[in-house]
Symmetry: C2
Subunit: 364 residues, 2 copies
């Protein structure tokens, strides 16, 4: 069973980590942890693999070093919490782990962690040390999003048919590594940033008529969704199309799914999906479908973000994207997916999406 296997991999890695430290101590050595530097200076855009990865700079953290001791202790404490979670076969949220680690160091008045950011960082360190994702360490983040399609999965012993869940759909959990796909009948996956658009497409039974899977979250894509998209892409060779607002925030959502994010560069391999395509809303769609009358003026924040994104390594030399950014700058305004509703409530499912997909009008 792959489920069991993953658990034992993470457990073995945690044991290895503990044993290494115990050996240091037995040998009278200053216990040390070696791990890649996670500063911006050590984050590289791997052109061949087409994703953000960590460079080769490593740092050592020592127990007997005033500057290192606390983070050292935090890392070991979190490792012990993860080990316990895996042993008990339970999952904890990042917030839970923070509270579990927030205890006073015996005979002092100092807490092991005071802020969640400290335990979060320790978990990221552990991902690097063990080469296991946070999910494999049994730590979860927010759950969000729904999915529908002609797919049958098995999860915690339940057989779930994504095509037979009424108007709601399946609520995507925070950990999607452990679900088993039993039947996947789809030609592609359509991911959108808005739950309301998902409800529109679901009511129109878009997934049935177009033989696809529809998936959404609200705003930022959760790691659970990213892993689910990646698994469908890798295990079933399904193209992934992303539908977002025409604004820098929408494009960043696409960018994170495709290339990974700066803050999670250390785990890009487990999350980035280089084959993902941007379906819309593109600057050309705005012209083609006459959506200019639904412009919402950019704020200064939008304009700055657009500039930042256009300079990202993976967009900088991409002519098609630079053309988009230029047009967006000229527009000086965003257009939302729902602006398509001005052309009819089901225009999106009956015309816009089928046209775009048939003519393969994507950005890469």
């Amino acid at each position: 069973m792959p489920k069991k296997k993953k658990r034992s991999i993470a457990k073995d890695e945690l044991k290895k980590f503990g044993k290494k430290l115990a050996d240091d101590i037995k040998r009278g050595k200053n216990p040390e942890i070696t791990l890649p530097v996670r500063a911006l200076s050590n984050i590289i855009f791997d052109k061949k693999e087409c994703k953000l990865v960590l460079g080769e700079n490593v740092a050592k953290r020592y127990f007997f070093n005033v500057a290192h001791a606390k983070r050292f202790l935090q890392t070991v404490e979190i490792a012990s919490i993860c080990k316990r979670l895996i042993d008990e076969n339970k999952h904890a949220s990042l917030r839970d782990v923070f509270y579990m680690a927030k205890r006073t160091i015996p005979k002092t008045k100092i807490n092991i962690v005071d802020q969640q950011s400290e335990s979060d960082k320790a978990i990221e360190d552990l991902e690097l040390i063990t080469n296991c994702s946070r999910e494999m360490l049994h730590v979860t983040a927010n759950k969000n999003g729904s999915v529908a399609g002609n797919v049958i999965i098995e999860d915690r012993g339940d057989r779930i048919d994504w095509s037979k869940l009424g108007s709601g759909g399946w609520s995507i959990p925070s950990v999607t590594d452990e679900i088993e796909f039993k039947k996947v009948k789809a030609k592609y996956v359509l991911y959108m940033e808005k739950a309301a658009v998902w409800e529109r497409l679901h009511e129109d039974r878009f997934w049935e008529k177009n033989k696809c899977i529809i998936m959404s979250s609200m705003g930022q894509t959760t790691r659970g969704i990213r892993r689910l998209l990646q698994r469908l892409y890798e295990e079933f060779d399904l193209p992934i199309y992303v539908l977002v607002d025409n604004d820098p925030w929408g494009i960043y959502i696409y960018s994170v799914i495709k290339y990974g994010s700066i803050s999670l560069a250390h785990i890009s391999g487990k999350l980035a999906i280089p084959g993902v395509k941007f379906l819309g809303i593109s600057a050309d769609d705005i012209e083609k479908y006459g959506l200019q009358r639904h412009f919402i003026k950019f704020t200064d924040k939008d304009i700055n973000r657009l500039k930042q994104i256009s300079q990202y390594a993976w967009f900088k030399n991409n002519k098609a994207w630079q053309r988009q950014f230029k047009k967006m700058k000229q527009n000086g305004a965003k257009v939302e997916i729902q602006a398509l509703s001005s052309k009819g409530i089901s225009f999106i499912s009956e015309k816009y999406l089928p046209e775009k997909i048939k003519s393969k009008d994507f950005l890469d």
Copy 2:
């Protein structure tokens, strides 16, 4: 079928509204709309019914009145959009309706609506005019939240078993009026504001061990969830317990579910659930379970909000609640649900919740 009936009720009401205006015109009368005033001055806390309702002040809106003409037109336009949605048996989100209404008045350069707030208000007016909820008018808002329990429903022709949906659960749609309950085996419903807590309880199969239904959203409770809670309360006589952080925002979540909200006072009858109980986290829980060490200091905003809430009509003369507010003020800090995790990952499901529920330690 209740589904069809609801559709025809809303349609009949919309037709009645249109006919009344057409009659005004035929008779050479200035077309008028009469509706209750929705200002704070006309919002009353109905002590007997125990919910926020509108008072008896009404206002008239005339077509031939420069100050009224635009809102008059907006109301009629939105009514026509709703009629079309019902005819086509499709649902649109608030944002969709805005884009559908956002068109230029022929021979002018004036848009019918420029901001979503305008179409939103027109929809609220229509709820009053037709006495039908927004959902009955086929307009939806955000979808959010998950549910699990020993319940079987039928929705859009699918039979869905809430006990067999793996780690994800059923994703709660924005309209829950139309689902049919086929089997409900539960002693109560536990609603929590945090998806991560829901995942914890679901992993522990809390709903199975304690014969209940667990439901969550993220932050604010959607109308879809409020209607679902209300239906389970009214149709199956199930007690509803609310689990939120010990801070003014958590208490307001409880307050809205129980009494309705000021902005939606006109629809309280369809949404408020006077029998709802506050399960926790109470100020007493903080003492009983020694959660003081997990205090997160109030900001000025928190303190002001606490003061506001403590003066609401439905809390003002409630001694038990005033005692809570006093303690919260003394604490000057909030405590999150997840602080319970400091006592063990499953402390919440194995000890805290069973103890509270067994001893009926609720606030009313």
